[in-house]
Subunit: 198 residues, 2 copies
């Protein structure tokens, strides 16, 4: 019943993470009703991003300038390198604002199951960068999952050869605002193991 053009739009909206087939239909109807207020600006914002945003050749961040604003910021400490799995993680860390060094986006995590190898993550280039940029501190800010931890250990092993480089990972434990009753057993066990003396 619905025309091919509308079906096509619904199908593409449904592939956006966070939208499913039913909410995509609702989204399509909303956009068709708010043509001038929403659909037209959204098309031009997408077109603008398509034309201007590129992957930073140095760190893998997404930005409208190349190299990205973080890589070209001379006020940031070039000897500190924070390694993240994804651009979303980089944004989350920047939002927190507690790191003033540079980043390297892996674009994934080592996974035997999905066939992701060190080559896919550009580990070679990463090690080159550590050497060339005189990095003295590497922070592995990878997710606390099996794959994240496997990747962390692999990178820590590779970086062990660099005598001047200190390798860190983010502290694990109870999150701020975390109520013990709602936390999973793994988090509680980790927090116990890493308990601090007051």
């Amino acid at each position: 019943m619905v025309g091919a053009e509308i079906s096509q739009l619904i199908a593409l909206l449904a592939k956006i993470p966070g939208l499913g087939p039913r909410s995509a239909k609702r989204a399509a109807l909303h956009l068709m009703k708010k043509r001038d207020a929403h659909l037209v600006p959204l098309i031009s914002a997408m077109q603008e991003v398509l034309n201007t945003v590129e992957v930073c050749p140095l760190c893998g961040n997404l930005d409208t300038v190349s190299p990205c604003a973080i890589c070209s910021d001379v006020k940031r400490e070039g000897n500190k390198l924070c390694i993240v799995a994804d651009v979303a993680d980089l944004w989350a860390l920047e939002r927190a604002g507690s790191f003033r060094g540079k980043y390297q986006v892996l674009g994934g995590l080592l996974s035997a199951l999905d066939g992701v190898s060190p080559d896919d993550l550009g580990v070679e280039a990463l090690l080159d960068r550590v050497k060339k940029d005189g990095v003295t501190e590497v922070i592995l800010a990878l997710p606390v999952t099996v794959e994240g931890q496997t990747t962390s250990h692999y990178l820590a092993d590779m970086l062990a050869d660099f005598k001047d480089v200190e390798v860190y990972m983010l502290a694990q434990g109870i999150p701020v605002g975390g109520e013990l009753d709602y936390l999973d057993d793994g988090t509680i066990a980790t927090a116990f193991k890493a308990k601090k003396k007051l």
Copy 2:
């Protein structure tokens, strides 16, 4: 930190029903990563819909042909008119496939609070259509809410003057697959009141 173009895209994505600020960010990242596979086709699907889809001048449906495919389908019974609040409702009824007449989309419901009057819903034009098209059966398929029922009663009153027109509303009761334990009291009360003899 995020460039103006990306912020703008996130802000517009966040206004899509079903997406919030956080999922809009995730959606924007996804689209920027899947440029050719998703962003480019999505832009052109939106552009296509923008160029081709219009509001049917007869019933208020959205379609690429004008009048819409339903209004111009001579096989559908023109003497039966189903009145719905929104295009989404029309689509839902078409999906169920139990009605082979024509539709009229009100585009809203009477509401003193939101200042929606019969004029805003085009009631005058609706009554004209009933007269002109020789409609003999009107089905009020409006939501079972205070505003939906107010609108139903108002339209039923208006249509009472048409001696040849029978006015119906959809049956109310337990939905198919509805477990009594999970249903609200209003639905159960309605189902009891309208109980059927076996």
